[in-house]
């Protein structure tokens, strides 16, 4: 695999990069947007997930991929022809026992194949810390491949990283503030591409709020600390994002009333890690919810409401 995937000369007209609003977008939105804006590159983002996008994504995907990947394909589809390049990073790992789900390594090639023949060009940066390519190096290389100088790339990355850190600190502070309420607090533990998705996770969060519950987003946590704390639950688990969620539960377990493990069908890492969480956090009420493309919300509502009720019964509020 060559490091420079897209080699193209810097053009006089403005370049537009498309960002599919799915998967890692929810993790890197600020980093990506500020990086490109520093370089003077335009960004377009696909609309929030809706039924039409999901249906389109399902059409373009093989059956076996997870719901989130199908949604991703729908978002890519919505961007075809609307930008010069669509950004799809390849992220293998952030170090030893800090791996991403394989789909994040495969996504660039998968998507390229699905949309083969569309004439759309894709843009990538490769992170593989085990092989000594970190985020900074990868993103600077991408800028260079786009025709910018190394220095321009480096400055853009530095600035983008600063924006990202500030934004993240603000989000984490906001979650910490929510932990101080007297309401019942339920931690929603799911990958950001589920909890932040307009069609999949957001309805769950809204339903909880309507039931008078404060949902705490597990993903919004000091990531370094979460990774450290996750080792106390399992020292060997290898998925970075699973470790963050586990660490988040560990850090906040005494401040919350219960946990909802929100997962999209079929998720490999979740199927293992969620089982472990249930076994490792004895005494903490946990409800697993696996989402697919069911239309009926009734089953979901029953599960959320009954879970909330049980927590209320424990507090003698019902």
């Amino acid at each position: 695999m060559s490091k420079k995937i897209s080699i193209f000369a810097r053009e006089d007209r403005e370049i537009t990069v498309g960002l599919p609003r799915a998967l890692l977008y929810h993790r890197y939105e600020i980093l990506w947007k500020s990086f490109f804006s520093e370089l003077g590159v335009q960004c377009v983002t696909s609309p929030r997930t809706n039924k039409a996008i999901i249906d389109r994504g399902i059409e373009r995907s093989i059956d076996e991929t997870c719901l989130s990947t199908k949604i991703y394909m729908g978002h890519v589809d919505a961007l075809i022809g609307k930008c010069d390049y669509i950004l799809i990073p390849r992220i293998s790992n952030f170090g030893i026992r800090r791996f991403m789900c394989t789909k994040f390594e495969a996504l660039y090639d998968m998507t390229g194949n699905v949309f083969r023949g569309s004439g759309q060009k894709f843009l990538a940066y490769d992170i593989d810390v085990v092989k000594k390519t970190g985020e900074e190096k990868a993103m600077i290389a991408m800028a260079e491949a786009m025709g910018f100088s190394r220095k321009e790339g480096k400055n853009a990355y530095k600035a983008a990283k600063r924006f990202e850190n500030d934004d993240w600190k603000r989000k984490v502070r906001e979650e910490e503030r929510k932990l101080r309420t007297d309401q019942i607090k339920i931690m929603v533990a799911g990958h950001s591409y589920i909890t932040e998705d307009e069609y999949v996770g957001k309805p769950v969060i809204r339903m909880l709020e309507e039931m008078g519950v404060t949902p705490i987003i597990a993903d919004r946590i000091d990531r370094k600390e979460a990774i450290r704390q996750s080792a106390r639950i399992s020292p060997t688990i290898k998925w970075e994002m699973s470790r963050e969620l586990m660490g988040s539960i560990q850090i906040r377990r005494n401040k919350i009333d219960g946990v909802i493990l929100l997962s999209a069908y079929p998720c490999g890492p979740d199927s293992m890690v969620n089982e472990m969480i249930i076994r490792k956090f004895r005494g903490l009420p946990i409800q697993t919810i696996v989402l697919d493309t069911q239309e009926g919300m009734a089953g979901l509502e029953t599960r959320l409401e009954s879970f909330t009720d049980v927590l209320k019964l424990q507090r003698g509020e019902l």
């Binding site: 039924k51 309805p203 989402l291 029953t302 409401e305 009954s306 019902l318």
Partner: protein
């Protein structure tokens, strides 16, 4: 006039109703099949309940609905409380068995476990959004075997060596079952195997990682299957209590919750004679194209749901088909 409290539990398969007094004594009770028509079933149910208690002595001051059609029926009967069946079951069972530690429940399309300590629910689990190992699974297999599902329990108890069946997934179980039939396993062994598979599936899914302490109460439609009860007792090594009012626990629980809540509204049996109708509307105001359910009473829209955003909100009180 003394006060009475009505509780209705409308499940996918059966509809249950009770009228309780202030001391949770049952004044009236009824159990019938939903038969895919929850509104019709409730009308029949109300007609039966009305006959059973003294309307001159008692007046119904609160109405609760639970079960999968709770929202629809709640709108129809003007419920003062609408709650999910898990909460209702826990409250109902605790009323009769204050020292219960574990409540097992297998219904038509879902199954759950509720753990209780000192009269307080401490933990519970529900199957994920899949009906494997529930009443619906048993019914479909009964149809395949040409046996009434009500006979399942008796037939299962005759078996000496239940067949091993995969019960993790209904689709796998079915192909496993067909294969075993063709291999020459007897019907009673297969039925016993199915009952055992339901128990194993339950304990490995819903009950996994949970400490099941006696007294254990088993509820839901499947609790009337002696075969399943037998295998639960065998697997857990403890007696499993099946209450004769077990199927009514949800209705009892919601009646009690209605009594505990503050809301009061006199119930009028006149709903039996009103015309209720539902209609499905495709919203079409955004790409989500939500399916909105509209409920009409005597041709007037009284409620609607199913919309994911405000664009699909419909105003109650609109007449007839004027809502798009």
């Amino acid at each position: 006039m003394k006060k009475a409290y009505l509780g209705i539990d409308i499940g996918s398969i059966s509809t249950k109703g009770v009228v309780l007094d202030d001391d949770s004594n049952i004044l009236a009770k009824e159990y019938l099949w939903t038969e895919g028509n929850p509104m019709g079933a409730v009308k029949k149910l109300l007609a039966e309940l009305e006959k059973q208690f003294d309307k001159d002595e008692y007046e119904i001051v609160s109405t609760g609905t639970t079960g999968s059609a709770r929202k629809l029926i709640g709108v129809m009967v003007g419920a003062t409380i609408v709650k999910n069946e898990i909460t209702a079951h826990a409250v109902g069972t605790l009323n009769f068995y204050p020292d219960v530690r574990t409540i097992l429940e297998i219904g038509g399309q879902d199954s759950k476990i509720i753990l209780v300590d000192n009269g307080v629910v401490v933990d519970y689990a529900m199957n994920t959004l899949c009906a494997a190992g529930t009443g619906a699974f048993l019914s479909s297999q009964a149809k395949r075997l040409g046996v009434e599902v009500e006979e399942f329990g008796k037939i299962a108890l005759q078996s000496k060596s239940p067949t091993q069946l995969a019960a993790r997934c209904t689709v796998f179980a079915e192909s496993d079952l067909v294969h075993k039939i063709q291999m020459g396993h007897t019907r009673q062994d297969i039925i016993a195997g199915l009952c055992r598979a339901v128990v194993n599936n339950y304990l490995n899914n819903v009950g996994k990682g949970k400490k099941i302490v006696s007294p254990v109460v088993f509820q839901g439609g499947v609790s009337r299957n002696e075969g399943v009860v037998h295998f639960f007792e065998q697997q857990l090594g403890t007696k499993v209590i099946v209450d004769e009012n077990g199927p009514l626990m949800g209705a009892i629980g919601i009646a009690i919750l209605g009594r505990r809540a503050r809301a009061r509204k006199k119930f009028d049996f006149a709903v039996e004679d009103m015309e209720f109708r539902t209609r499905e509307v495709s919203c079409g105001r955004c790409p989500n194209n939500c399916e909105i359910i509209c409920v009409y009473r005597d041709d007037v829209l009284i409620d609607s749901w199913g919309n994911r955003c405000d664009k699909g909100a419909l105003r109650a009180g609109t007449r007839g088909e004027s809502v798009k």
